[in-house]
């Protein structure tokens, strides 16, 4: 019973599903470059807005995309605080004296300990995380150790307008990158992505770059990922039956656990490589040989149209960057 399907393809029938994969890949690259050429929050917000509108028009499940950004939350928070402390110019939005002394340090440690203890019982971990971060700074503001007759180290916590703006800029940019990439993988079958890439890279054949072989390697990898996952699971069960406890985390044990999984998988894979080579050769595969393809990619007028729209956005972005066009903020 298998519940893995290769890739993250989500079924659908909107306009984006009808695009040639070569156009989709090219569009992604063009739009990413466009995004990275934008230089301020205002322009990034416009780009963000355009992307949101486009995504909604494709009717791809938005929530799924958002979930893909969860791992980035920590990184973004960290970036925010780096910006807060490094930007020294611009309007001040908030200024607060902060105290780091015995009292506040004690309070902070208590908060962190409570966080780790109750973490597993809370459903919305992200909200808890932000609450904890907020509290850590709040206690620094309201608990000077002078209350209990001791001294603190003090510093000024300043949030400047520019810091907020820059963080917002980064946040939107990362979101655009994730959304656009997800859009490609959600709406294009892995085989189509491979075919599209192969076709786009074909000009490289002139410099003897092995495009066809690369594509074959890529699709063989895709083909075997679910099979390998299955086999890894079976071997894990077999080793567990011999007393390996995979949930234990002593370093010495972890090494044995990994070795007991890796070596069998390697052995299976080498045998597989040999068998595959024989099978492929017997079926007439020749490295560097000419081959036809069962999937034919056809460009349509709509594809060209989409390409032009993307190129238009890119051009606008370049002109804005270079200063030919200026927008009054």
């Amino acid at each position: 019973m298998n519940n893995i399907v290769i890739g993250q393809y989500v079924h659908g029938s909107s306009w984006i599903y009808k695009l040639d994969p070569r156009i989709k890949i090219s569009a992604l690259v063009i739009l990413l470059v466009t995004t990275f050429l934008l230089s301020n929050l205002f322009l990034m917000s416009i780009m963000f807005g355009l992307m949101i509108v486009m995504i909604f028009s494709t009717r791809v499940p938005f929530l799924k995309m958002i979930r893909g950004m969860k791992p980035l939350i920590f990184l973004l928070t960290f970036t925010f605080f780096i910006q807060i402390f490094s930007i020294q110019e611009g309007n001040v939005l908030l200024q607060q004296t902060m105290y780091i002394g015995p009292l506040s340090v004690l309070a902070m440690m208590t908060i962190v300990i409570i966080y780790f203890l109750i973490k597993r019982y809370i459903k919305f971990k992200i909200i808890l995380f932000f609450l904890v971060v907020f509290l850590i700074f709040y206690v620094q503001a309201i608990l000077p150790s002078t209350l209990i007759g001791l001294q603190d180290f003090t510093y000024e916590f300043v949030i400047r307008e520019l810091a907020l703006q820059y963080t917002g800029f980064l946040l939107l940019r990362i979101m655009i990158v994730v959304m656009l990439s997800s859009l490609l993988t959600f709406t294009t079958l892995p085989t189509d992505i491979t075919n599209g890439l192969e076709s786009l890279l074909r000009p490289l054949k002139v410099i003897k770059f092995p495009v066809g072989e690369l594509a074959t390697m890529l699709s063989l990898t895709l083909r075997f990922i679910p099979t390998l996952l299955d086999e890894t699971q079976k071997i894990m069960k077999a080793q567990a039956s011999r007393g390996v406890e995979f949930s234990e985390s002593k370093l010495k044990d972890k090494i044995t656990q990994i070795v007991s999984l890796l070596i069998p998988i390697f052995v299976i894979s080498f045998k597989r490589a040999e068998d595959l080579a024989n099978a492929m050769e017997a079926r007439g595969y020749i490295i560097g040989g000419k081959r036809t393809k069962v999937d034919m990619l056809k460009m349509r007028v709509f594809d060209i149209f989409v390409l032009f729209v993307c190129l238009g956005l890119l051009t606008t972005s370049i002109l804005l960057r270079v200063g030919v066009i200026q927008i009054a903020l």
Binding site: M1, N2, N3, V5, E231, K234, I235, K237, A238, Q239, A240, S241, R242, G243, V244, E245, V259, S260, I263, P264, V267, I268
Partner: protein, 281 residues
Amino acid sequence: MAIQFKEVSFSYRGVKDQQYEAIKDINLQIDKGEFIAVCGQTGSGKTTMVQHMNALLQPTRGNVFIFEHTLPQKKKQKIGPIRKRVGLVFQFPEYQLFEETILKDIMFGPKNFGLSNEEAKEKALMAAKLVGLSEDLLEKSPFRISGGQMRRVAIAGILAMEPDILVLDEPTRGLDPQGSKEIMDLFYKLHKENDKTIILVSHDMDIIANYASRVVVLDEGQIVFDGSKEDLFSQKDFDSFHLAKPKTIEVMHYLNEQIGIPFKNLFSFEDVLAYLKEVSK
């Protein structure tokens, strides 16, 4: 009683987020010293059911009692003791070999259960002898021997743990007839001489007929027959189990129909021959 299943079901999330029930309302009692065969079509739930026997899987409903342990387990309990007493030999077990030498690989199981190097080595040597591996092989790499020998090494690795119960998931799959016979004879010897409880999952009705005494048949996750092999093959609705008839039973039926020789439940080639000689007098 060694193992008991009480109203056990196991379900999991399958494709498209649907709940899929692999086994349903399983009630089964296994006593020490039995030799039980578990059979049924592919997908009937055999592997799922036997993987509960060494706690690789835990029931989503109902309880499994393995000696003094109960599944599903409470959080703090250790699973190790169960895995030591119920040894599970997987299909194509040769894939689990990984150590530098054959001896080391056979020692792997015992060492994981806390035996010292010397103790583990002793058990490993004993197990190697049981499966018929010659001593000069023990220092070789497990990857430089034939497939049949690799399988023996894997089986020795489980025997060295000295489990009370042996669960064998299609141990003869991929072996030629001679290899099959040797492996099954070994398990039968362990059953008779060392009083090991054996649970055999197999598709091969001839092997089941030859070695098992009790048969449990699964169909679509449920037990549809649990009894002696003699009863199984004389069931009126035998065909509904989608199982082949052992060849010895088949020929007995044939001879009964064609020339009127009284039918007898016989399960080995030698027994059939002896019986034919008897009725020819």
